[in-house]
């Protein structure tokens, strides 16, 4: 029971505590390590470990001296800087609820309805702008894949119709392929229109192939293997492909030989007054 005895002795120490420069509280002659005796008190069984509010072992020790009774020492690893504070017990600042946390009340919204509407409006605006920008980006990107202006400029060809006499062929180049333009005579038109086209290999009427009966416009590429047929030749008075012997009639329809389809008709139009033919 030496501890209990010395505890009582130590109570005569001056109630002064100071903080060392290292931050360790120094309370000479106050024995902070004293624990309440085991079994004393009520409601709990035995001592429960070291007290959590005591300084660590390295910070001090308690010893019993014959001359001065119980002595408590505080050790400090750091040298004092020369400026120390005397903090008397009663100078401890009042413990605030949450010190150093500012008061946010001035920032709180005045009206929660307005605040909610504004927030949703701003988020909606961001959505509107982003969607608009994204749409433009995608459109422009896709537009960059379309044909460029110089290609488009070559995509149309104008032909002076007056330069092609009746009963003659003209061959022009259009997008790298030959285009046959035939100024048909009246008898050729009648021949093309009177043919029983429903029994042909690729049944097509002449009316659907020529917009104006006297002008026949076709791509000059054999539908078999892509040779260029010869005009005014073959068994049917139209075109004849020298490669494998396909015969086309005066409407460009396949009549004999290996080709499976009629000669292709490109998109074309006549200008007003029938002066020019625009292919493409």
């Amino acid at each position: 029971m030496a501890t209990a005895l010395s505890f009582r002795k130590a109570l005569s120490a001056p109630p002064t505590v100071r903080t060392l420069a290292s931050g360790v509280p120094s309370a000479p002659l106050v024995n902070l390590s004293v624990r309440s005796p085991a079994g004393h008190g009520h409601g709990h069984h035995g001592a429960v470990g070291p007290r959590s509010d005591l300084p660590a072992k390295f910070a001090g020790s308690v010893s019993l001296s014959t001359s001065s009774g119980l002595v408590s020492r505080s050790f400090t690893g750091a040298q004092t800087s020369g400026v120390t504070q005397h903090r008397l017990l009663h100078t401890t600042a009042v413990v605030k609820d949450a010190p150093n946390v500012p008061n946010f009340e001035p920032y709180q919204a005045k009206s929660s309805d307005n605040n909610r509407a504004l927030s949703y409006f701003m988020i909606g605006s961001l959505g509107v702008l982003s969607a608009s920008v994204a749409k433009s980006t995608v459109t422009e990107f896709l537009a960059s894949m379309s044909a460029s202006a110089d290609v488009l400029a070559l995509a149309k060809v104008e032909v002076e119709l007056a330069s092609i006499p009746e009963g003659k062929n003209a061959i022009i180049k259009w997008r790298g392929k030959p285009v046959f333009i035939r100024h048909r005579t009246q008898s050729e038109v009648e021949e093309a229109r009177s043919t029983d086209w429903k029994s042909l290999r690729d049944p097509e009427s002449d009316e659907s192939r020529a917009k104006k009966p006297e002008w026949l416009v076709m791509l000059g590429v054999c539908t078999h293997l892509g040779c260029v047929p010869i005009g005014e030749a073959g068994d049917f008075g139209g075109w004849f492909c020298p490669c494998h012997g396909s015969h086309y009639d005066i409407s460009g329809r396949i009549r004999k030989g290996p080709a499976p389809l009629n000669l292709e008709v490109p998109q074309y139009d006549f200008t007003e007054g029938d002066e020019k033919l625009i292919i493409g």
């Binding site: 509407a117 949703y120 909606g124 702008l129 969607a131 608009s132």
Partner: protein, 62 residues
């Protein structure tokens, strides 16, 4: 206050309406923004662009 609530109840309350109105708004905004910038541009560059000059040369030929 009441306008805020009207806005909230009309557009925001149902997410489907909110998202739809955002996309519709994006479409309308895209068109009107284009128009607005173009009209500012044409106004700023009045008399300098080809469309301001074109009438002169087309009429000259006829």
């Amino acid at each position: 206050m009441s306008f805020a609530n009207t806005f909230y109840n009309a557009l925001v309350k149902r997410n489907s309406v909110y998202v739809t109105s955002i996309f519709a708004g994006a479409f309308a905004f895209g068109v009107s923004f284009d128009l607005g910038v173009s009209s500012f541009w044409d106004n700023w560059n009045k008399g300098k662009q080809w469309k301001d000059l074109r009438a002169k040369y087309v009429q000259d030929e006829e």
